[in-house]
Subunit: 219 residues, 2 copies
């Protein structure tokens, strides 16, 4: 026993993250590697920023470690592989979007409008939009990133949504609805094609809500 | 006058490509640079392949030239900048999708189904799907590529679509419909999220067609 420096190894697994446990490459020496109070949180914050700004392909463990002021070994120690760091970072970034099932709770005639309003509420604010778009970009250009995002959404969102909707194939229905909104977001915020890029969100919501309602409620 | 080697400089501009004319960096020496019959077509084919396989960011004029067996100067000579080579390459790749307005001609109660069927007809064939997805990926990750794609679609598709539809704001309407299908394509072919990734196309078309019809026909 060498005392407190072993602490992180004893930390309980985070709730809701069943994927393979991080590889732990021995115990990092505290003085040299930047370990200490808040190191894990600093790494996670740095990972979030790096992945958002540079995408999955161009982000390395080394770069995340440097941004967090720690040794690469400590990143491996807490999170494992780059894929696992990404999983932890996007779970944090996706937290607001993961509450989407709440917006669908109880269904009702305005469920399509509530879903659209929820998504545009996140997207219209650049602070919440940028990291989400960055994740989408990573997932669209890298198979590993796509698999991580897929796992997160299946595990944390689709199962809950299925419980909120009283339709056949609720997961298929919500994917049709989410796909609709995601495609519009791509044209509006990424490709920035007019007129949809400069249209008033209320005009878009008014057009889209009936389509979403049909998916989410029609037997 | 030095005769036939100047030929390409005298070639008329391609129809339908109004953007800035290619920079022409003098006349390349034929023997060393791979010029000669079919050089332009070889370059275009190589550009198409390189952009499709590597994306906009990772493709260079040098690499295209190498794949086409010509000197980089000849690529500049025929097409100008990397952006302009990309524009020429994606115009070729997008040719099948650019006929989409034909599928909408005359409107009618089945116009939504025709649009969905047209798009899935292109996407379900890997030979036509891969290069289109590659362009989408490039446009989603690079602002210059996004601008080129935007210009192509505005110039070659949206204006025509507006003429085919008897609704207010036809360009907005067709973007809502296209955005819907593009988002589904992202979930199905790129993120590959189930159940939408393994759903029968007929099941998707049956669900989506009424939403598209509403956008394309409802006053």
């Amino acid at each position: 026993m060498s005392g407190g420096a072993d602490g992180p190894d004893d930390a309980p697994a985070e709730p809701g993250t069943p994927p393979p446990p991080p590889r732990r490459r021995g115990r990092p020496a505290r003085a040299a590697d930047g370990a200490g109070p808040g190191a894990r949180e600093r790494i996670l914050a740095a990972a979030r920023t790096e992945f958002a700004e540079r995408g999955y392909d161009k982000t390395s463990i080394r770069r995340i470690a440097k941004a967090a002021g720690v040794d690469s070994a400590l990143v491996h120690h807490y999170f494992g592989t780059k894929e696992q760091v990404f999983a932890a970072a996007i779970e944090l970034t996706f937290a607001p979007a993961l509450t989407m099932p709440d917006a669908l709770a109880g269904g009702g005639a305005d469920v399509g409008e509530r879903m659209a309003r929820f998504m545009f509420g996140i997207w219209e604010n650049p602070v919440s939009r940028q990291p989400l778009l960055a994740i989408m970009r990573s997932a669209l250009t890298n198979d590993t990133a796509a698999a991580v995002l897929r796992g997160l959404i299946e595990r944390r969102m689709l199962q809950r949504v299925a419980g909120e909707l009283d339709v056949p194939d609720p997961e298929f229905r919500v994917q049709l609805a989410a796909g609709h909104l995601i495609g519009i977001a791509m044209l509006r915020y990424v490709i920035r094609m007019d007129p949809i890029a400069s249209a008033d969100t209320e005009a878009i919501i008014a057009m889209v809500a009936p389509a979403l309602r049909r998916y989410l409620t029609q037997p």
